[in-house]
C-alpha cells in the first residue's frame, strides 16, 4: 500500500502536498469526535510543498518522501508539544528531535502531529490521558488499547500513512490489536530511544504502526540501527526466512474466541507453506505481570524524579492522574524496601529466567505465536480493577522482559472487534519476524 504511494509521489502522479492535505482534512473533520491527535503540526503542508519543489528540481528527497506520520506524545519532535498526555508537561515544547524523528525527516517524512496516549505511557486501555481518552475508530464503544492509543487509532482512522509508538510492556501491540492495525516492537536496542521520554528504560522500545506489515517494515528499516546517543543501541544481523518455518504455540490461558481465530490462521499458513507448528510449554510465562510491574514501578519512579517542578513547571505528584501516582508511590515504596531484595531484585531474577526460557525455545523454533491480549477490549464506560487492567499486558510484557522482537497483526474479528495475533522471534531476528508476518496477512 505504502510502496505504491511512494512510487506515485516519486513519479509525480501524486504530490506530497495532496497526500498530506487529505490527512489534515481528515484530522480536522474527525478528531473532535475521536480525540486521537493532541497537537497538529501547523507547518505540515508547507513541509510537503517543499518536498514537491525539491522533487521537481530532481533533488534527493529520501526513501519515504511525502509520507505523513503521527508521533506518540512522548517522543520529542522539535517545536511540537511532547506532553506525554499529562498536565505535568502540558505546555512542554520539544527543543530537539529524537533520533528516530531525525531519521524520518532525513527520508522526507512529514510530521502531521502528536498523538494522544495513556498518561506517561502508564496504561493499556487508552483511557488515562489527562486530555480525555482516545476513541477506537474500528469499534467506537470499545477502548482503543494503550498506551500508544492515538498512534494505533490514527492509522485505523486514516489520519496518516504510519505512526510511531513506544512499547514498554505491549504499548504498541495492544492498541494495534484492538484497532485492527499492524504494530511492531523491535528487539531491545535495535532502535534508538534517544529523545523518548522514558517509562521504564530497561524495557522501553520505539516502534512503527501501519496498515500492513510492508508499511511497518519500510519504517523499521529507516529507524533501526546503532546510535551514538543511545548506548544500548546496536546493529543486529537478522536471519532470513528459510523454506520451512517451525512455529511454537505455547499453551496459554486466553479467550477461546481469540485462540480459535489464531489457530485457524496458523493451520492455513502451515498448510499453504508446508510449515510446522507444535504446542510448546513455557514454564514461567504466567509470571509476566508479576515480573514486569515491580521493574516498571521502580524505573518509572526513578525516571520521574526530574519532574519536581523546578525545570518543567509542575511537580508530577501534584499534577498527574491516578495510575501515574500509583506507579510513583509504589516505586518509592519498593525503592525503600530494596535492601531486602523482596521486589526489584526478585523481579530482575524472574526477568532473566523468562529471557532464558525464550532463548531455549528459539533453539527449536523460528517463531512463537500467541494472542496479543488474553481478552477482548472492554466497553468504554466499564470500570475495571487495577489488576484487571494490568491483566491486558500478561502476554505482551513477555517480549519486553525477554528483549525480543514482537509484532501484532490482525487475524480477524469477534463480533466486529478486531483481534491481533502476536509473532515473537529471537532477539535480533526482527527481519525474520517481518518475513514470517507477511505470510499471515
Amino acid at each position: 500500500m505504502i510502496k505504491q504511494k511512494l512510487k506515485d509521489i516519486k513519479s509525480g502522479k501524486l504530490t506530497a502536498e495532496a497526500n498530506i492535505k487529505v490527512f489534515l482534512e481528515e484530522i480536522k473533520k474527525r478528531n473532535k469526535e475521536l480525540n486521537i491527535i493532541l497537537h497538529v503540526n501547523e507547518n505540515a503542508l508547507a513541509e510537503a510543498k517543499d518536498i514537491d519543489a525539491r522533487l521537481k528540481k530532481g533533488e534527493k528527497v529520501g526513501k519515504l518522501a511525502g509520507l505523513g506520520v503521527v508521533v506518540k506524545s512522548n517522543i520529542n519532535v522539535e517545536g511540537l508539544i511532547a506532553n506525554c498526555a499529562s498536565k505535568t508537561l502540558e505546555d512542554y515544547k520539544s527543543t530537539y528531535d529524537a533520533t528516530v524523528i531525525k531519521k524520518l525527516k532525513n527520508e522526507g517524512v512529514v510530521i502531521l502531529g502528536m498523538a494522544n496516549m495513556d498518561e506517561f505511557a502508564s496504561g493499556s486501555s487508552g483511557e488515562s490521558s489527562a486530555f480525555g481518552g482516545c476513541k477506537n475508530p474500528a469499534v467506537l464503544d470499545r477502548i482503543p488499547g494503550g498506551s500508544s492509543s492515538g498512534s494505533a487509532a490514527s492509522v485505523a482512522a486514516d489520519f496518516c500513512d504510519f505512526a510511531l509508538g513506544s512499547d514498554t510492556g505491549g504499548s504498541i501491540r495492544n492498541p494495534a490489536s484492538h484497532c485492527g492495525v499492524v504494530g511492531m516492537k523491535p528487539s531491545y536496542g535495535s532502535v534508538s530511544r534517544y529523545g523518548l521520554i522514558d517509562l521504564s528504560m530497561s524495557l522501553d522500545q520505539i516502534g512503527p504502526l501501519a496498515k500492513d506489515v510492508e508499511g511497518v517494515e519500510l519504517v523499521y528499516e529507516v529507524i533501526k540501527g546503532k546510535d551514538e546517543d543511545d548506548s544500548i543501541s546496536k546493529d543486529f544481523q537478522s536471519d532470513k526466512i528459510g523454506k520451512t518455518v517451525k512455529i511454537g504455540v505455547p499453551q496459554i490461558n486466553a479467550d477461546e474466541q481469540i485462540w480459535d481465530l489464531i489457530k485457524v490462521k496458523i493451520q492455513q499458513v502451515c498448510d499453504k507453506n508446508g510449515w510446522k507448528a507444535d504446542d510448546i510449554e513455557l514454564k514461567h510465562i504466567d509470571l509476566g505481570i508479576q515480573t514486569y510491574y515491580p521493574i516498571n514501578y521502580v524505573e518509572f519512579f526513578s525516571g520521574t524524579r526530574r519532574f519536581d517542578g523546578r525545570k518543567y513547571g509542575k511537580k508530577i505528584e501534584e499534577s498527574c492522574g491516578e495510575e501515574v501516582l500509583r506507579r510513583i508511590l509504589g516505586g518509592a515504596e519498593i525503592s525503600q524496601a530494596e535492601f531486602a531484595g523482596k521486589y526489584y531484585r526478585r523481579a530482575l531474577i524472574a526477568k532473566k529466567i523468562i529471557e532464558k526460557e525464550f532463548i531455549e525455545a528459539f533453539k527449536k523454533y523460528d517463531c512463537i505465536i500467541m494472542p496479543v491480549t488474553p481478552k477482548l477490549p472492554h466497553k468504554v464506560k466499564d470500570k475495571l480493577s487495577v489488576e484487571d487492567n494490568y491483566a491486558y499486558d500478561s502476554l505482551s510484557v513477555l517480549a519486553n522482559l525477554a528483549e525480543i522482537p514482537a509484532i501484532s497483526i490482525p487475524v480477524g474479528d469477534v463480533g466486529g472487534i478486531p483481534i491481533g495475533m502476536q509473532i515473537l522471534c529471537k532477539k535480533g531476528n526482527d527481519s525474520l519476524m517481518l518475513g514470517i508476518s507477511k505470510e499471515f496477512e
Binding site: 546503532k226 544500548i232 515491580p294 508511590l329
Partner: protein
C-alpha cells in the same frame, strides 16, 4: 480531581506484595548475575574513546593515591 494518595499507596503496596510472593517461588532458580548483558556490552563508540589528556592528568594528580590510569581508594572509606 483530588486523588486519595494514602489509599492509592496502600493499594499499590498490596499489589506489589502479591506480585512479590508469586515471584518468591522462582527466586531460587535464578542466578545472581541477573544484570549481565553477555554480548551486549556497552560500546562507547568513537566519541567515548576520546580522552582529554590534560583533564586525566589533573584528576590523577588530585587523587590521594593512583596507579597508572587508576585512582586507588580504600573500600568503604567514604562512608
Amino acid at each position: 480531581m483530588v486523588l486519595d494518595e494514602k489509599n492509592i499507596q496502600k493499594e499499590a503496596k498490596q499489589i506489589l506484595d502479591k506480585f512479590a510472593s508469586a515471584l518468591a517461588k522462582v527466586e531460587k532458580e535464578g542466578e545472581e548475575g541477573y544484570v549481565d548483558r553477555e554480548d551486549f556490552e556497552r560500546d562507547e563508540g568513537s566519541k567515548g574513546n576520546v580522552c582529554d589528556g590534560e583533564f586525566k592528568k589533573k584528576i590523577l594528580e588530585n587523587a590521594p593515591e593512583s596507579d597508572d590510569d587508576f585512582i586507588l581508594v580504600e573500600k568503604g572509606a567514604w562512608k
